[in-house]
């Protein structure tokens, strides 16, 4: 391990803030990835301006973007979306195989599942940034979910390697490597095991920039972890720890809902100038299949996505939960209820602007997540929304979440906030608003 780090450090940059320069020069000569599967033979050039979708999280100061509209009570513009979003209303219902207006044509696509799309994103990260390393438990042979397959043979053992069974070692090493200017993509085998690393994450990673007065930072860190219910995970293979992480200023917490946004979000996270915890809903690794663009593209962090526009009720969720929410909203639409479904995508910092605008329009809000309800992330959304939109609300904000117990094994299907519970919440909120 020592030799590996020594060899890698020779490739490191003198200054931690060179990352944007690499990004620009790499993007100028971007080619589509042609190595991940045999479907696609073409090679095309995509200049930077068409690759980065929307306002990129790292190219504009996040603070400026956030303050721009978040608490602006400008009622004239309340229904206007920002320049990077197409004007609404546009076509309804989330259809993973239909071209998504949020992702303008990025060229040819390939049908990939979640682990394949993460694999592709990691390949791109490794090939475009020579300082990138990927490490974690069992990562070398391909990973227990096959997310890192073929990476070691392609990029070398000094860049893709196993770590000992030590999560705080994984996190600590990522911090150290990134503080010297490198890009470290660490993998925590299950999000349930992120807790041994919490001291490193909370006390070191999150505060690195702040405590040094921006003299040093560890923005090159991306910690990936599979999270969420999987049907048979029980207490320690099903947790969603986003609430613990979102309570830590200095971190960025991201959760994709499918292969197409996962690739873009992971590339954004890897290139983000702040440490990112990237949570991947493990049940989607094989079950979610979408047309994923072959290009190197990024999805802006800190921005929610309106999957489906509606007028009666706003529903917010993230990760695998959105599939259940989609079913509930489809059933609700049969009863004549028009739902606006929003994928938060980035949980910290979260896009309150989009949710506030939506709730000002609909007057009702439901937040749904798998994690236990008490102090779950839904509580944060509910508290902020009642503060900002109190006089626009026609009904109390509903939270549909897991119960306040450890994640059960046999009772999992009764524990989860499923389609029925969400449909009930939709009906209830419509009833209360009358």
């Amino acid at each position: 391990m020592k030799t590996t780090l020594q060899r890698s450090s020779r490739r490191l940059l003198p200054r931690a803030m060179q990352r944007h320069d690499i990004m620009t020069s790499c993007c100028k000569s971007l080619t589509t990835s042609s190595f991940h599967n045999d479907h696609h033979q073409q090679q095309q050039q995509y200049p930077l301006s068409t690759v980065v979708v929307g306002r990129s999280f790292h190219s504009s100061s996040f603070a400026a973007a956030y303050q721009e509209a978040a608490y602006n009570n400008d009622d004239d513009n309340e229904l206007q979306t920002s320049s990077s979003y197409p004007p609404f209303p546009y076509e309804s219902s989330y259809n993973p195989t239909k071209p998504d207006p949020d992702y303008p044509s990025l060229g040819p696509t390939t049908k990939l599942n979640l682990f394949q799309s993460i694999n592709t994103a990691l390949q791109l990260a490794l090939s475009t940034d020579p300082t990138t390393i990927v490490f974690g438990e069992d990562v070398a042979f391909g990973g227990v979910f096959r997310t890192s397959q073929n990476l070691r043979s392609e990029f070398g053992a000094h860049r893709v390697f196993n770590t000992p069974l030590s999560e705080n070692g994984i996190a600590g090493m990522a911090i150290g490597y990134a503080s010297m200017g490198g890009t470290a993509i660490g993998e925590i085998q299950f999000a349930d095991y992120i807790f041994p690393a919490m001291d490193q994450i909370v006390n070191e990673m999150a505060k690195f920039r702040y405590r040094s007065g921006n003299q040093w930072s560890c923005g090159g860190v991306t910690l990936r972890a599979p999270c969420g219910a999987v049907g048979h995970g029980g207490l320690y293979h099903s947790q969603s720890p986003e609430a613990y992480l979102c309570h830590t200023p200095g971190l960025v917490v991201v959760m994709p809902r499918g292969p197409r946004c996962a690739k873009g979000l992971l590339l954004s996270s890897v290139r983000c100038k702040d440490p990112v915890i990237f949570l991947e809903p493990k049940i989607l690794y094989r079950s979610a299949v979408e047309e994923v663009p072959d290009a190197d593209y990024e999805i802006p962090l800190g921005k929610a996505e309106i999957m489906q526009h509606g007028t009666d009720v706003t529903i917010v969720g993230w990760g695998a939960q959105l599939r259940r929410l989609q079913v509930a909203t489809d059933l609700a639409s049969k009863e004549g209820i028009s739902c606006e479904l929003i994928d938060l995508r980035t949980l910290l910092p979260w896009d309150s602007d989009t949710i506030i605008r939506s709730v000002k329009k609909t007057g009702k809000l439901i937040v749904s997540h798998e994690a236990p309800i008490t102090c779950g992330f839904g509580a944060e959304i509910a508290a902020t929304l009642q503060q900002e939109c109190f006089f626009h609300l026609e009904a109390p904000i509903q939270r549909v979440a897991g119960y306040d117990t450890p994640f059960p094994l046999v009772s999992e299907k009764y524990y989860l906030p499923d389609e029925t519970k969400n449909l009930d919440a939709i009906r209830k909120v419509m009833e209360l608003a009358k």
């Binding site: 070398a140 042979f141 309800i373 008490t374 119960y403 117990t405 059960p408 046999v410 009772s411 009764y414």
Partner: protein, 155 residues
């Protein structure tokens, strides 16, 4: 084993697949522990023949031949078998019948365990705390109302 002096402990490394060696090492370690009232670290070396778990396929990261070789050479049961046969102390009939009895006992235990009913829904909310707090009582009630309302069959 190098950790033991780091912690100020006596330590011994032993071939974990050799029954007699392990017995001897543990006996010595126990004697030392009782004499000195201090811990002794025993590092028993062995080899994991099986997969890491039911969801693991170890042929993806190690040679199948390596596993087979380890099994042939180091398996403690095979070694004991050969040792006893060498001295003519092995009664093969007895071994077979004991094996059959034990297998039957294990299968009976498995059947008994599998025949036990699934834990009821109440088990989800019990033992979170010493006494069920008000919010859990409320949540359990909500869940039961939900199941009744939608006529959902539950255990």
């Amino acid at each position: 084993i190098s950790r033991a002096p780091g912690y100020g402990m006596a330590g011994i490394r032993v071939d974990g697949n050799d029954v007699f060696a392990v017995h001897a090492a543990v006996a010595e370690a126990r004697k030392l522990a009782l004499e000195t009232s201090a811990p002794v670290m025993i590092e028993a070396m062995t080899y994991r023949q099986g997969h890491h778990s039911t969801s693991d396929d170890s042929s993806r990261y190690r040679d199948v031949d390596e596993v087979q070789a380890a099994q042939d050479v180091t398996d403690p049961l095979i070694r004991m078998d050969k040792f006893l046969s060498h001295y003519g102390w092995m009664d093969n009939n007895a071994v077979t019948s004991i094996g059959d009895e034990e297998r039957a006992a294990v299968l009976r235990a498995m059947e008994a365990a599998e025949a036990r009913p699934t834990p009821t829904l109440e088990s989800m909310f019990t033992d979170v705390y010493h006494e069920k707090p008000p919010h859990l009582i409320r949540q359990e009630k909500e869940l039961r109302q939900h199941l009744v309302k939608h006529n959902i069959h539950h255990h």
